[in-house]
Subunit: 387 residues, 2 copies
Amino acid sequence: VATWRLDPATTHLNHGSFGATPIEVLHHQRRLRDQLESNPVDFFQRRYQPLLETSRRALARFLNADPDGLVFVPNATYGVNSVLRSLEPALRPGCEIVITTHTYNACRNAVVDTAKRVGATVVVADIAFPIAGPSQASAAVLDAITPATSLVVLDHVTSATALVLPIAEIVADLEPDVTVLVDGAHAPGMVEVDIAALGASFYTANCHKWLCSPKGAGFLWVDTFHRTSTNAAAISHGYNGAWPASSSDFHARFDWTGTDDPTARLAVATALRVMDEHRQGGWYGIRQTNHELVLEGRDLVCERVYMEPSAPDQMTGSIAAIVVPQSLASHMSAFDLVEHLHHQWAIEVPVSAWPGSGDRVMRISAQQYDQVADYERLATALGDLTE
Amino acid sequence: VATWRLDPATTHLNHGSFGATPIEVLHHQRRLRDQLESNPVDFFQRRYQPLLETSRRALARFLNADPDGLVFVPNATYGVNSVLRSLEPALRPGCEIVITTHTYNACRNAVVDTAKRVGATVVVADIAFPIAGPSQASAAVLDAITPATSLVVLDHVTSATALVLPIAEIVADLEPDVTVLVDGAHAPGMVEVDIAALGASFYTANCHKWLCSPKGAGFLWVDTFHRTSTNAAAISHGYNGAWPASSSDFHARFDWTGTDDPTARLAVATALRVMDEHRQGGWYGIRQTNHELVLEGRDLVCERVYMEPSAPDQMTGSIAAIVVPQSLASHMSAFDLVEHLHHQWAIEVPVSAWPGSGDRVMRISAQQYDQVADYERLATALGDLTE
């Protein structure tokens, strides 16, 4: 059973933002760091590459992805930036890049910058929130497609609104010449990710969220068509094949992007194993129990604040968004609510202002360290604000 | 006195590639990580920014740089990539980007990619090696300047050849409309860096090399003219000011570029203090004693292999390059030599093939953990190869 280093005096209902890491994984990472510090040259020049391959192969198996197309990045934001910069020479002025009203702000910024550089138009597909079902989401994206569409950027699980989008269905409905970049930041470990079956051109995500690796580990998977033209956001020695001795030029361009602390990505295989051994049913069991717990927590909180769930269960993974009614502490902004719950109740839970409506949207999470009592505590805290 | 976690059974003569970190600094970093793991949300949302400002201010003082223009990056390669990508919209087809024959391979790759994107020409200034004096270097760079020169990229201390280039003199001789990017990867902590006095447009460097911070800390300083147009290589929330609450938009664009382990950059202030307290004379004393030791080591090795120093003392900091005579183990490549010294002698010292001549160039370093006996050991190992 995995144990955690999380402060027991705090109620942790925001696994989604930065994740958390089992102690066993942190200990493994510390041993790697001690090796690194005892002889940095030996570590980087002789030990790093085989350790990286072990992590890559374990992650590729977990994602059902071809390891030849899989590289590590510090986080999904870096993955998205790498893809956009690499696609720029192929994007023509007047082309359209489709994002959605739920696209993660950091990635929308990266898309806006790329559009400006190449003279493209950013088209925003309006996905309803609250939402009735997945077909509403796929219809909104498909409605935004025109003959000028070159690239579609989709969140697998949306950030502020916690919706699992029907990525596979959307990809299947698109013309094959449309490039699809999936930002799966929150997805692996929360929902099943089968990259081979998905058919996207690019898939990037974090390992430090729901795979519970140390912070600073993410991945980017690239299909065979785009592999030779895809570079890391920071070009380094791999660009001319000088270093490191990776199994391919594509790998080399990402395996080394300058000196940093690589131990988070080297600990991914261990994180996958530790979590798999955590409970009966392994990763399937983790996804299932987290999903059931977040639904129970969501219903409990919704009932207390007299709200309906904002998405059906089938569009919910291990995070759930709850619209905070306008009548509840109407003088408090989203930020005020977060700080109030932190300072008065020692509850960590994110709240954001949803641009569509101005509503305050609270997002709860369920990870193996959470219990029903945690959501009851949140419900009590919110009830206290109502009175 | 700083103590180190380096394996005592190894002779460490390659501080230059990846640095090394005093145990006291590593302990401070571990405490930061423990704080982070106990509540990642609280750490990133409330504690990170003030800790970052403390590091930034300490580093700005050390560099005599305006903190408003100073941001952290993972390493100098990332800094160079960020600058090039940010400059691209202003670079016109047909313009010239000047680098040198000593430009670090990773950064040359980044320049080549930018030149390809904007239709610029890369002009390579041929700096002699071995070299007689600094004026030979500045003349070579100035000879490469034409009215079409838009950007000059200069190493402050060259990597394979260990030359301290006369950056200030070169900048002073250039027209003010020429943008200068200094890659100071090896410079801070090895030579005095006075950014205010330098007059460059951009200065990027590593903290994990000669400032002895943990790995994954570097900085980028940007002059006032370029600050509003300079973005991190990975665009994130700061692009539209959404996060974090930094003291300026410029800071925000670099202070948060997606989740990673930020503790290396947060430990920079501690690294600066620990090293300053390490010996009489503080940082000046460290630079001076490292410089004297590397010259002694260089002379000792040069004598044993019957070579002349390849650069004058005034162009040498705490690393020194020694051309390996062709007669010495002529069947061994640069890589073979590195591996031989590692496996047979437990000596870590880099050797590279210098493209100009095909010569094998060995680079030794001197840091506070080194002693004359270390260079004697290297001389013995090389002498053994001669017989």
